[in-house]
Structure formats: structure tokens, C-alpha cells
């Protein structure tokens, strides 16, 4: 990031430019949101069952730690869909179709996993790539509609959530190699089609989370360091100015939606190509005409992470952490839905916290700015500027 560059080059500006960076204010407002959300969640738990509130709440906050493998496993798909939403959002596109792209990615990955016969290690790698292609396809189409016909991407991608879900459910139920009627789920995947496990006892966690984090970091680099990222953010901030500067807006819209779709598709692949704790088994999909929740959770993750790839990595792990913790509250008699309420509140507060944050970080910035001004006069323009 340029701000960091400057702090390297001009060391004395370090604290100053750090607190002025967008990252700082996003981070502090996300923390504020989490804090307020948890407090509110605690209040709800007290109302629901006062006696168990403290033990229940400690499950929410700390429960995930005992199931760290699952936390990472369930973070993987929402990390990817979060990136899919956040990346498109940087360009000013609201990719609400992450669910459909995720579902398509999952189907393509499953198809390659079951139907293609590939040697050894290559199998799961090709299956993952197939997942990406599936997602890309479902991102590309709304992208083309938006770019060439100016059809609102929200409408097309919502419709594509349904198209994707019904299509996939239909295709899976009609395929006896993939679908087992007695269990009404997909069968266990061939051994080579599964992503290698990370070997944490009793969890599904696999190489997918590492790949997902790497992808997040690559996206960060693309956004911050490349001309494509520069164009993308410019278009997101001000479409007219990016046209004026001669950027190819239509091409960029299509490209962005395709990339976003590919990211969500990878999420589907990472989730479904997972080995489970029981030897020889794998994750299965149940085609029961429900739109994948992981797509919508991606919107929440992206909001909490302020659409910043690194922020999304952390927010997805956090959301997964309290989700896992939340399932444990049933041990003390809470319904698992309570955790969905808490997550919803956190997201709600993440918008609210922006206002709170402006006051708080404004205060910190002021203090630092004044110190900087007092300690040196190498920046005489500060007072003259607007």
C-alpha cells in the first residue's frame, strides 16, 4: 500500500500515516462492531435463558478454540464467497449471486470428481479448477448483461442463484453415479478427488483453507499493486472519471464479475471436495432446493471485512469461529439459531460502528497530528490546506 511505502521512506511519518490509512479506520470499526454485537448477543442470551447465559456466552466466544480445525474448514467457503462479494464491490458491483456461483462451482467440482478418471494427485487439482470455471461461468453471464445491456447485476445474479440451484439439484438427482437415492445425498468421492487433509484430528480441515488465504493475499496484491487493481478501484469510486481516463469499463466489468464468480466457485469446490473425519468418507451434498447459505454469509463476511481481502480473511475466520461456538450453546439448552442472531447484530453494528469509529479514530488522529506538527515544521502546508 502506498501509505506503507511512505512510512518506510519517511520514517517519522510512521504513526501519522498509519492512523490516516483506511485500513486503520476499517479495522477499528470492525472491532467496534464485533464488540457491540457480542454485547447485544449476550443480552439476548440473558433474555432467552438467564441461568445459562454466562456458560452459553463463553461457548460462543471461546467454544471455537476447541474445534479449531472445523473453524478453519467452515471458514474456507465463506472466505471465498466473501472475496467474491468484496472484490466485485471494489468495482462498485454488488455481486449478490455468490450463492449461485458457489453452487455451480461445487457441481463442476463434483462432476470432475465423479465422472472423470484422472491419475492420482491431478484429480483433485483438476476438480478445483473445474469448480472455478463453473463459478466463473455464472459470474460472467451477469457481467456481460451488465456491461453490454446495462442490466442491473443485482437482479440478474439473484435470478442466477435460483437457476444455478435448481439446475444443479436436477443434474445431480438425475445422475446415478453421483447421487445415492437411499440417502438422498451425493455419494462419497473417489479418494483421489478429495483435497488432502491437514491431518487435524476429528475435523474436515484441508488444504483448501491455505489455498483460500493465499488467494486472498494475491487479490490484495492485485488490488493494491497492479494497473488492473488501479482501474478497478477507480471505476468503483467514480465510473465517469474512469471513462474520462480512457479505461475500458465494459471489459473490466465482465472481467471483474468473472473473477468474482471464479472465487465463489472455488469456495464451492473447497467445501465439497473435503475428506471428513471418518476414513474413506467425504463431504456430501443434499439436493433439497435450498439456496446455499454460504453465498449470503459471504456478503456478511465482506461487509465485516470492509471488502478488503486481508480483512475478509480475518472476518471469515471470526464468523466461522462464533458459528462453531454457537453450535455448542445447545449443550446448555440454547437453540443454535441464537448465533445467527448474534452474527446478524454484528453485521448491523458494522455499519453503525463506522459512525462511532469516525469519532474515536478522529480523536486518535488529532492527537498524533498535533504531535507531528509540533515536533517538526517540514510540512508547512498543513494549515493552508482547505
Amino acid at each position: 500500500m502506498q501509505n506503507k511505502n511512505s512510512s518506510k521512506r519517511q520514517f517519522r511519518f510512521n504513526a501519522h500515516s498509519l492512523t490516516h490509512s483506511k485500513g486503520f479506520s476499517s479495522f477499528s470499526s470492525a472491532l467496534m462492531a464485533i464488540l457491540l454485537g457480542l454485547i447485544f448477543g449476550f443480552i439476548i442470551m440473558i433474555i432467552a435463558a438467564p441461568g445459562n447465559a454466562i456458560s452459553g456466552f463463553s461457548y460462543v466466544v471461546f467454544g471455537g478454540l476447541s474445534r479449531i480445525g472445523d473453524v478453519f474448514y467452515f471458514a474456507t467457503p465463506i472466505l471465498m464467497t466473501g472475496l467474491a462479494v468484496g472484490f466485485a464491490f471494489k468495482m462498485g458491483l454488488f455481486n449478490i449471486g455468490a450463492s449461485g456461483q458457489y453452487t455451480m462451482g461445487m457441481y463442476f467440482a463434483l462432476y470432475v470428481g465423479f465422472m472423470w478418471d484422472l491419475p492420482g494427485e491431478l484429480h483433485w487439482i483438476v476438480a478445483i479448477i473445474a469448480g472455478m470455471v463453473g463459478g466463473m461461468l455464472f459470474g460472467l453471464i451477469p457481467g456481460i448483461f451488465k456491461a453490454l445491456l446495462n442490466v442491473n447485476e443485482v437482479i440478474t445474479s439473484i435470478m442466477f442463484n435460483y437457476i444455478g440451484m435448481y439446475l444443479v439439484d436436477m443434474l445431480i438427482q438425475g445422475n446415478a453415479i453421483m447421487y445415492s437415492s437411499p440417502t438422498s445425498r451425493t455419494r462419497y468421492l473417489p479418494i483421489n478427488a478429495k483435497i488432502p487433509s491437514l491431518g487435524i484430528q476429528g475435523s474436515n480441515v484441508n488444504l483448501g483453507i491455505i489455498l483460500a488465504v493465499l488467494i486472498g493475499i494475491i487479490l490484495y496484491i492485485v488490488l493494491q499493486k497492479t494497473t488492473f487493481g488501479y482501474e478497478l478501484k477507480a471505476t468503483g469510486f467514480n465510473k465517469y472519471a474512469s471513462d474520462y481516463a480512457g479505461m475500458r469499463g465494459k471489459r473490466n466489468i465482465i472481467l471483474t464479475m468473472a473473477i468474482a464468480g471464479g472465487l465463489a466457485g472455488l469456495g464451492g469446490a473447497f467445501f465439497i471436495l473435503a475428506p471428513t473425519a471418518i476414513t474413506g468418507s467425504s463431504m456430501t451434498y443434499e439436493p433439497i432446493n435450498i439456496i446455499a447459505a454460504n453465498g449470503f454469509n459471504g456478503i456478511a463476511v465482506a461487509l465485516l471485512g470492509h471488502s478488503h481481502p486481508i480483512g475478509i480473511i480475518f472476518s471469515s475466520i471470526f464468523v466461522s469461529h462464533i458459528q462453531r461456538g454457537g453450535t455448542l450453546t445447545s449443550l446448555v439448552g440454547y437453540k443454535p439459531e441464537i448465533i445467527d442472531v448474534v452474527i446478524a447484530v454484528i453485521i448491523y453494528f458494522s455499519a453503525f460502528a463506522m459512525i462511532m469509529n469516525a469519532a474515536l479514530s478522529g480523536f486518535v488522529k488529532n492527537r498524533l497530528l498535533k504531535k507531528n506538527e509540533a515536533s517538526k515544521d517540514s510540512e508547512p502546508d498543513i494549515k493552508e490546506a482547505e
Partner: protein
């Protein structure tokens, strides 16, 4: 002691890193028109916002009618009889004039809205003050000048005695400005006290009784307008002498840089073409000005010329190459620089830093990127160079966010970017809009310097003074047609005005061909 209706004593208002108002005292007499003059960012709007309750001052007191008051929000201000017309109107577009006026103070009888009572009062007010409005017209259908009159009636309807106008003429046509000044005078004669923010000296001379000048947050002084001159006021405002005329040497023109042939552009607003069969040349070493009243096809023509919109008919040649169907990027490479009309919409990405904005036209060139990765060190060095050369001021240099910069410095940044970029033709559309005299002088000097460097300059302007002073050749556009080609040395503002209003025309073809 004199009878003041408003006294603002020793007002100090600080923002992070800047003192916007530093110990300012301003007194408003009953029934006077008091101008508040200052450059962009001098603190005029901040001071008025303090009075209107939008900001709270750290120090100082406000006394209204001899009583110290506490104004915490616009409702308090309203209760004290203070009304404000903002630069950007606060009207509901899909409501009628009447509905907008009564918004918030709706007259109610027996629990229902009673519009007839309001209508009577509005008609009475509009007749008394000469404010022609149709109470039943929708806001979105009426002109900007009319919308402003609605804002004024809104204040009068609330029986405000102290009227604040924030740069009221910035959005108006010359005729509307004349009407507005008359209305404001009438209001003062009826006993209303008026404070108006401006940086246009002519309006102050024509209208105001007294004028308070601010500079960089400090109060420079209050003067009686009848005892002062334009030159003196501008010196107070800027802190140095300003020349109103532009010095320029005679230049020999060179080759044709831009050739426009029979260009027609469709309108987005109506069925007729916005630009009709326009032809002209611009040569190296001359400033050609397209003059006209706003809305006569200038915007559409520039959009077609710069590639933002399609050209329907005709051809445009830049440096001998046909650019009629070229992309914006191709035009830029061929040698076109463009200072856009709306610097916030087109010229800048306000959320980007200054340095990112300075490479907006060049980020893709090998100098600034390698294999698709931006070379941030080069960008920084380049930006620092431009900032130094063009004296672009901001709080944090290259990493200041463009949004945080003042209008004049934003324009300087655009100017720096477009001038430093390799170009043969500079298209400048209303480059001094909204700028104060110091910045206007600077922009004009830069345009002339481009001409002297042997570049072609195509200037689009609505300001008669600018047209007369800066250009070497004037083309007048009226209803999408070029109705006259004039030499600024052989014409005067009256004649130019006649052409602009469509009362007089020559085709300009003969003199054009003779060149």
C-alpha cells in the same frame, strides 16, 4: 453603538489540522446587504455554518438583536429568524413548489393539510418581492433560477429576517444573475438583512453595502463598498495585486492541429440535434474560444470531441489523424489533453490520493508500470515533481486524498496532469468555474503559456470577460450552431452578447477560409 441585528464576536472554529475561522468578528446591520468575500477555503462557508447552527464554534459568541444566543442546529437558527439558501438547493425534486415551501411548517386545519391558506401566502409573498413562481410546478421541471426563488420564498414564508446566501450566483445564467441581484436589493429595502457569500467582485460592487474579507481563516477587515474599488478588494482577499487583464504576446499560428468538419451530435434531452453541422479549425499557437450561453450545445460538442459520447455525423481530425470513432485512450495518445467541465464527476477520483490522481492519464505507460504492476516509487517522484512545479497545496502532499483538497488546488492538480501529459491540443472546459480570482489568474496564465509553447488550445467558456481576455479567436455557439467568428481585438462585450443571444449572426465561413 450601532444597531446590529447579528453580531458574531471572536468566532474560532477548528478542524483537525486547520483553523477554519480564527477569531473572526462580523456585524450585520438591519436592512443591509453584507458581502462575505474570500478565496476558496478562506472560511466563509464555515463561518456561515456556525451562524446557521451546522457547526459549533470552539470560541466566541453570537448575539442576535442584542441577546446572546446558543445556536445548536438549523432549527434554532430558524427560530431566531435566520434562513439560508445553500449553494446546492435543498428541494424535493418530485414535489411541487408549494409543497417544498411548506415542508416542515405545513398549515393544518382540523388535522388535514390546508394548502389554500399556504397558496394565498405564497402568492402574496411572490408579488410583494417580485419572485415569480408557479406554486403548482414540479421542482424537477423548473429552471435553476426558479428553484433558487423557491428557496428564497421558503425563507420568507418562515418569516426569517436574516437571510444567508451561499454563492447564490454560481449556478445562474447572466440574465438570472441580474434578476437575483434585483430581488436581493428589494429584500433589503423591505428591511431584511442579507449576508451573502461570494468571490465575485462585480456582484459586491453592484449590490453590497458593506463587505467583510476573509483570508486563510482570518478576518482581514470590513469595508464600506462605496469607499473601495475592485482592485482594493481583490488585494485584501488574495494578499497581493491581481491583474485582471492577461498579458500575452502576439503569436504566429502554425499548422492545423484540430480540424472539425460538419459535426452533428444528437441531444439526450430532446429530439433535435444538440450540435448542428459545426466546422472549424484550431491551429498550433492559438487559443480558440467557444463562447455561448450555457446549454447551447457546448457540453455535447465537447463530449463528442473528447470521445465521451458518440458523434453522429461529420469528421474530426487531430494532428491529421481521423479520431471521429477513436476511443478516449487513442485520442489521448494522439495528443489530446482535456480539462473537464465537472472536475468532481470526470476530472478526479475523489477517493484516490493526489498522486494516484496525477497519473490518472498515464498509469499505463511504461514509465509508471512494469508487467502490469504499478511502479509506486516512480509515481511518487513524478507526483512530487508536479506538486512542486504547479504549487499544488494539500495537507499531506502526494498522499492527501483528493476529496480533502480545496477546489482551487484540485483544479491545479488536473491542470498539472493534463499539461504535463504529452499533447498537441488542450481542451479546457470552463477551467475557472468556481475558482477565486487568484486561481483564475493562475489558470489563465497556464493556458497562455501552452499557447506560447506552440500548442493548440480549445477553450469553452461562459464568462464573457474570460472569453475576451484569453482567446485569440472567438467562435460563438447558439442553439448548436456556430453563429459567428470574432476577433477579440475587433469586437466588444456588447457585440459578443448579441451573438450569444442569437440576435446577430455571421457564418464566419469567409474569414475562416481566407486564413
Amino acid at each position: 453603538m450601532e444597531n446590529y441585528i447579528v453580531e458574531m464576536r471572536n468566532i474560532t472554529k477548528e478542524f483537525p489540522g486547520i483553523i477554519a475561522n480564527d477569531n473572526i468578528t462580523l456585524n450585520l446591520k438591519k436592512g443591509e446587504v453584507h458581502a462575505l468575500l474570500g478565496e476558496n477555503g478562506a472560511g466563509k462557508s464555515t463561518l456561515m455554518s456556525v451562524l446557521f447552527g451546522l457547526y459549533k464554534a470552539e470560541k466566541g459568541e453570537i448575539i442576535i438583536n442584542g441577546k446572546a444566543v446558543n445556536i445548536n442546529n438549523p432549527n434554532d437558527a430558524n427560530a431566531l429568524g435566520i434562513g439560508m439558501v445553500h449553494q446546492h438547493f435543498k428541494l424535493v425534486e418530485v414535489f411541487t413548489v408549494l409543497e417544498n415551501i411548506i415542508l416542515g411548517v405545513e398549515p393544518i386545519s382540523k388535522g388535514f393539510l390546508d394548502k389554500s391558506q399556504a397558496r394565498k401566502k405564497i402568492i402574496e409573498l411572490s408579488e410583494r418581492y417580485g419572485l415569480k413562481v408557479n406554486p403548482d410546478a414540479l421542482i424537477e421541471d423548473i429552471s435553476v433560477g426558479m428553484q433558487q426563488r423557491v428557496e428564497i420564498i421558503k425563507m420568507l414564508y418562515r418569516e426569517n429576517e436574516i437571510l444567508i446566501f451561499d454563492e447564490p450566483t454560481a449556478v445562474l445564467t447572466p440574465q438570472e444573475i441580474k434578476d437575483l441581484l434585483k430581488i436581493m436589493r428589494g429584500l433589503a429595502e423591505e428591511g431584511k438583512s442579507i449576508l451573502f457569500i461570494t468571490h465575485k467582485l462585480n456582484e459586491i460592487m453592484a449590490l453590497a453595502d458593506r463587505c467583510t474579507v476573509l483570508r486563510k481563516g482570518k478576518c482581514i477587515g470590513t469595508v464600506d463598498v462605496k469607499d473601495t474599488t475592485k482592485e482594493e478588494l481583490s488585494k485584501m482577499m488574495v494578499g497581493r495585486d491581481i491583474s485582471f487583464s492577461i498579458e500575452k504576446e502576439k503569436m504566429e499560428t502554425g499548422d492545423v492541429v484540430l480540424s472539425v468538419q460538419n459535426v452533428t451530435v444528437a441531444s439526450k434531452l430532446h429530439k433535435n440535434n444538440a450540435v448542428k453541422n459545426v466546422s472549424f479549425d484550431v491551429r498550433a499557437g492559438e487559443i480558440v474560444c467557444l463562447a455561448g450561453i450555457d446549454g447551447n450545445g457546448q457540453t455535447e460538442f465537447v463530449s463528442a470531441l473528447t470521445g465521451l459520447e458518440k458523434t453522429n455525423e461529420g469528421t474530426m481530425l487531430l494532428c491529421g489523424q481521423d479520431i471521429t470513432k477513436a476511443s478516449i485512450r487513442q485520442r489521448s495518445i494522439t495528443g489530446m489533453s482535456h480539462i473537464p467541465e465537472d472536475r468532481h464527476k470526470h476530472g478526479l477520483i475523489l477517493d484516490y490520493t493526489l498522486e494516484e490522481n496525477l497519473v490518472l492519464q498515464r498509469y499505463w505507460q511504461p514509465e509508471f508500470q512494469k508487467n502490469g504492476f504499478i511502479r509506486f516509487n516512480e509515481v511518487r517522484q513524478y507526483a512530487e515533481g508536479l506538486i512542486e512545479r504547479f504549487d499544488v497545496r494539500s495537507s499531506q502532499g502526494p498522499i492527501s486524498v483528493a476529496r480533502s483538497m480545496s477546489g482551487g488546488n484540485q483544479q491545479k492538480a488536473i491542470l498539472a496532469r493534463e499539461i504535463d501529459k504529452k499533447h498537441e491540443l488542450l481542451v479546457a472546459v470552463q477551467p475557472t468555474r468556481g475558482l477565486d480570482v487568484g486561481a483564475i489568474e493562475y489558470v489563465h496564465k497556464q493556458l497562455v503559456a501552452r499557447r506560447d509553447a506552440g500548442k493548440a488550445v480549445f477553450l469553452v467558456s461562459l464568462e464573457l470577460e474570460e472569453v475576451m481576455n484569453v482567446s485569440d479567436r472567438i467562435l460563438v455557439i447558439y442553439e448548436g450552431e456556430i453563429v459567428g467568428e470574432l476577433d477579440p481585438k475587433e469586437t466588444n462585450m456588447q457585440e459578443l452578447g448579441l451573438y450569444m443571444s442569437g440576435a446577430k449572426r455571421n457564418t464566419g465561413k469567409e474569414s475562416h477560409n481566407a486564413e
